[in-house]
Symmetry: D2
Subunit: 310 residues, 4 copies
Amino acid sequence: MPASYAYLGPEGTFTEVALRTLPEAATRELIPYVSVQSALDAVRVGEAEAAFVPIENSVEGGITTTLDELVAGTPLMIYREVLLSITFALLVRPGTKLSDIKTVTAHPAAQPQVRNWLKTHLPDAVWESAASNADGARLVQEGRYDAAFAGEFAAARYGLEALETEIHDAENAQTRFVLVGRPARPAAPTGADKTSVVLWQRDDHPGGLRDLLGEFATRGINLMLLQSRPTGAGIGNYCFCVDAEGHISDRRMAEALTGLKRICLQVRYLGSYPRADVRPGEVRPPFPGTSDEEFVGAADWVARCQDGRF
Amino acid sequence: MPASYAYLGPEGTFTEVALRTLPEAATRELIPYVSVQSALDAVRVGEAEAAFVPIENSVEGGITTTLDELVAGTPLMIYREVLLSITFALLVRPGTKLSDIKTVTAHPAAQPQVRNWLKTHLPDAVWESAASNADGARLVQEGRYDAAFAGEFAAARYGLEALETEIHDAENAQTRFVLVGRPARPAAPTGADKTSVVLWQRDDHPGGLRDLLGEFATRGINLMLLQSRPTGAGIGNYCFCVDAEGHISDRRMAEALTGLKRICLQVRYLGSYPRADVRPGEVRPPFPGTSDEEFVGAADWVARCQDGRF
Amino acid sequence: MPASYAYLGPEGTFTEVALRTLPEAATRELIPYVSVQSALDAVRVGEAEAAFVPIENSVEGGITTTLDELVAGTPLMIYREVLLSITFALLVRPGTKLSDIKTVTAHPAAQPQVRNWLKTHLPDAVWESAASNADGARLVQEGRYDAAFAGEFAAARYGLEALETEIHDAENAQTRFVLVGRPARPAAPTGADKTSVVLWQRDDHPGGLRDLLGEFATRGINLMLLQSRPTGAGIGNYCFCVDAEGHISDRRMAEALTGLKRICLQVRYLGSYPRADVRPGEVRPPFPGTSDEEFVGAADWVARCQDGRF
Amino acid sequence: MPASYAYLGPEGTFTEVALRTLPEAATRELIPYVSVQSALDAVRVGEAEAAFVPIENSVEGGITTTLDELVAGTPLMIYREVLLSITFALLVRPGTKLSDIKTVTAHPAAQPQVRNWLKTHLPDAVWESAASNADGARLVQEGRYDAAFAGEFAAARYGLEALETEIHDAENAQTRFVLVGRPARPAAPTGADKTSVVLWQRDDHPGGLRDLLGEFATRGINLMLLQSRPTGAGIGNYCFCVDAEGHISDRRMAEALTGLKRICLQVRYLGSYPRADVRPGEVRPPFPGTSDEEFVGAADWVARCQDGRF
């Protein structure tokens, strides 16, 4: 197994910064790839041990290219997640003043985050999209554009300086990244875990989706993401990417997944991994009747009844 | 263990007739008791191997004295059920004509079944209640009353003759009896089984009872009886006697009972036993997603996911 | 309309005592009837303005004769309810001592309430059932039995004295009575009301009853009684008598009943009337989203959407 | 009101072709806009009567830019929908042969649809994204690229010819477009209609989303789209764009929307309009208990009960 992590490049983007927050990243070779697909394929073919890609952000929601890769093709599994707050710096060549800026660039995904700032401070600047925020910085370095929105960390790499930092339209702008590898035994539960699955409905009828969600709800499991994705069978045909609170080794989660497996056309397990948004001590306790102890106790009771010892 | 069956006496009632339809009754001493309570207590204290008592009929619904005995006290278990069609004969001393009849008697439970017949044929006869239908026949034999409604089979025992037979107001009048013993390993599933439980809600809130029933419904289990009984904690406090289609060894039933055990204040298992109303071949197949094979397959899949082999 | 109330007699029973707690009873002639059926028939044929009968008690649960009369036949409606705490006195002829008592009598419904007291204080006394507690007292007066369990208020009427009072096995022993009349506009809501209905399922399938109860649950309506009663179509065929918190003029109740009417084979409305167990100020507020204001506001919003004004 | 329709330009794209299938388009001036946002803003400020934009396709699912515009800002309403099958032609300058093609271009959304075709027929061609498929054709005309994937209809406009037609990776590739205007009274129901809403949950708890979907499910309403979109309140905070079968003037839909309005934090109505996928005669009948007649009949019954006439 190669000791390398693929990630969505180029170097110097938020993705790389997020990846480097993982302790294990320090001991791997980190290799940028040009697309989510190519990074995940590197894992599939064994070129990389795992791939690090964005999966959800607070402006765009679920990142469909990543979800679609996880939904289809050779199964992969999420090992870890990272949350990164996203704020932009306005990077310019040294000496550039705000009044000098006629053109700005960044990845299109940055646009919703800087739109209001632009309206206020650079109402006449022309926006041009770049392939990535890092690439935008490079194009400023080359003189193609006057300024780029990028992470402040990108300034040094491209010999630029930050005219402004902490630019963000939405408070709490965050991107969630996942480290994705080949199927393996999930990491041990930490007490604050998340489980990801993809669900395909058996058939389409009133209440079908409600019943799927009921498998989580009746066991007191909260959902954190529900993202529909086309199945490829034509318009109106969707599967559902679901993130749910808890670990597959929790009894309530195991039973919910068993129920889904029974009633769905197909279920794809995408892994159970530590939550990045809370620490174990901050997770609220299970709802009455849904703790592991209660599941075990109830199953024991049924076994005793089956055996005539009640 | 005494090789005797207690039953709700006296001799010569529908209960005895129903009991004698059980093959195993031929090899036991059958002992009449004066009440459901005393028959069941005979089992509790070890005087009898099992007790045979009515539990439900098509006119009265659940028979509360039997249900209340099963709900409270030392746990008992239902081993078998018997369904008996109930039609009455009008028993008189030989030579009595219809026009001679001024007084009629029977157990009060017979009254709703013969009321219309009486209105038509004996509108002026005075009704007096008897302790049992057999006792009514005895009182006719003794000359206390002119006629008794009882099973036709009672005529010979009391030296009476049947002026009329097949009397019943309601079509399909049936009584359901159960053979009750001490807790034991339930009989093996036959493919057409019933499971009885008593459920106590954890607390009283909108949707509480709906959620209990949901444990059966979401697993495709049909209910055959839902009878509320007071808990003794004051008016408005009820527990629920439930008969559900299936056997505790069915995966769907075992999981439903596990769920109920988790969310209820208390669950009392009353047994799984062959249904008397249908034969195994007549039972409809499990709903999609609820067969044993699907439960086992889904649980295996979850186990493989937990193990990283998916 | 005759200014009289029929009630389940004879005089001197708990029923009469409960009836007299109603202010309007003071202005009516109160006429005892020999059975629940005859009292209700008196209303049906116009002999009485209303009938007062027991409907539920904390030992027996729903009183089936009353429920069955309300379920079938010409529709009637519940106007009022009364709760009465039930404690017994041991009535004897003056001069009788406890040690003199060889036989005791009362209505069979009293037996569960005095059983423990009897075991302790009169373990050898022989029990004989009477047609009513008042009738038992009369039989003691006549010398047929040594003692009767009845309400203390019955002593004077039959020239007896109470050897012991406040006899009751269960704490909180209560009986609930209802004043039943012909269908009429329900009394105005008080803020603490109850609505009674009878529900017949359209067909029998897993989840059928759960879905009926869901019409209440999804609108935040708590249930206070759920009593199954045979439909007369054979064993296992039940309808359900339901008492629910709230008044038919509450929006949430009106919508729940509309939903039930749509999905049930049949619904019989039995009335909305003030609760006897709590006062208006003690009722908990409606669940979020279920107040009249929220219903009206939401319906207005839909009307505006239908009209293009949103 | 200006008699013009804005649409997502440029001219010569699938959007324009879809728009021209609407009879009313023949009587309006059709004005291309550079983005979904600018087309919808033209409606908001009164520059255009309505705007025509893509909202969902069988490869990408919900089109997030369109959904996000409908979710936020000044309310708009969907008047009509159009379904268009999407197949691509490979457009080249006259005389170009397949073996001459080194570079290809198209809008990025076309890429998933032609990827397999490219792998097979032009494995070495370099892909460059264009701002639109029409713009890609224009760039081929200008000689910037060798070939463009676009609708066959674009060939004539740009003086190109189609080397290949009917290119599509997925069978049944379709895009759904909507005509969006200012809030107005919805078009009359046709018998085959769709209603679109946006739902914001009141709070996040297990079963919250299930309960929202239950408002549709319990009234027999099928869902056709459920697309989560970020609320802007930080990662993990979503609202839900829902398309449901039926018209707001259907009783079941009106009641479902009333229920959602009560239990949601916020509901935005996006319109009721004829379905493009089926004709009125092809729609399955309402589920038992959910027809307009049954709603009206049930409401009438409740009104009679409230009035004492039952």
